[in-house]
Symmetry: C2
DNA sequence: CCGCGCTCTCTCGCTGAGCGAGATTATCGC
DNA sequence: GCGATAATCTCGCTCAGCGAGAGAGCGCGG
């Protein structure tokens, strides 16, 4: 990646961040395999759980967009999650073209099982942080997030 | 994910981190598609570039382990990267069972094209950081990384 | 109130990523 | 040298995800 430009202390942080994302991906795949799923299914579950927590409506289309899947792939993901009993398809009464995805209790448990330990570890460290330090982390992560999103060439 | 325990300021940072990893995954897939590859190939390239920068030997086996693939899948990844001219297979003279993977110039360019913008964005923010803030970020990321790695139940 | 375009989801057929099993080739201790 | 072990590759298979298009429901204009 040749990001040796910048100060060494800076580059190390960038590498740490990448290491985190890589590790996260591996853990997802491993957890998925342990639970008879695929990485995409775990991502879908997390996406659905996030939406549930934020009280956002979770439709099939939205999920597919979030995962970068086309409609056929999205249907397949939902089929798999439904077969495992993690979500249920519910026709939207307002707009009956839509499928609302209801997250079942087992899925919440799975989500906690997957995300719980790392979240606790991070919260542990954050507890010792002062406001300035938390803000530093926040600015760093925000920059990282913004650094990805722009579509340069497309 | 029901991580509403912990202080709200803390939870937000956890969600930010997850958002970063999710976005990173999507960008990988998108970039891969733009360059006639798959997400796994991009991950492999990044892994190889990291190894090259650290002057670590990059063998087929190591790569597969890093990506969580079995030997057959690893061979397939290398086949694809080789076909695209991004890596070359080189027999290790010391141990001729081993295949060393030489990263070709085009791959370095690809790597920079993918990682450059986000890295620059992050470095930009880090430049304005003092040592204490950088250390806060470092501790946060280290905790996140450590939080993933342990194998609880297996 | 009916038709028409648009949106959302699903079905079908297909490509190819990744797996398991086992073959192949090379190293090493004896 | 020879058997045990290690690294990689080959083969056959399963199934994730894609493209194309069908079907059902919405809502607007006439």
């Amino acid at each position: 990646m040749n990001d040796d430009d910048g100060e060494p202390g800076h580059a190390k942080l960038v590498h740490l961040l990448r290491a985190v994302t890589v590790e996260y991906g591996l853990r997802q795949a491993e957890f998925a395999a342990r639970n008879g799923m695929h990485a995409t299914d775990v991502r879908a579950l997390i996406s659905l759980l996030d939406a549930a927590r934020a009280d956002e409506p979770a439709t099939a289309g939205r999920l597919g967009a979030r995962l970068g899947l086309n409609s056929a792939g999205t249907t397949a993901v939902i089929d798999r999650l439904e077969r495992l009993g993690h979500v249920a398809r519910v026709r939207d009464a307002r707009d009956r073209r839509r499928i609302l995805l209801r997250v079942e209790p087992g899925a919440f448990r799975l989500g906690r099982e997957f995300s719980g330990p790392p979240i606790d570890a991070v919260l542990d460290v954050l507890d010792a942080f002062g406001p300035a330090e938390r803000d530093a982390v926040r600015r760093f992560l925000t920059a990282a997030l913004a650094g990805f999103s722009p579509k340069p060439g497309a």
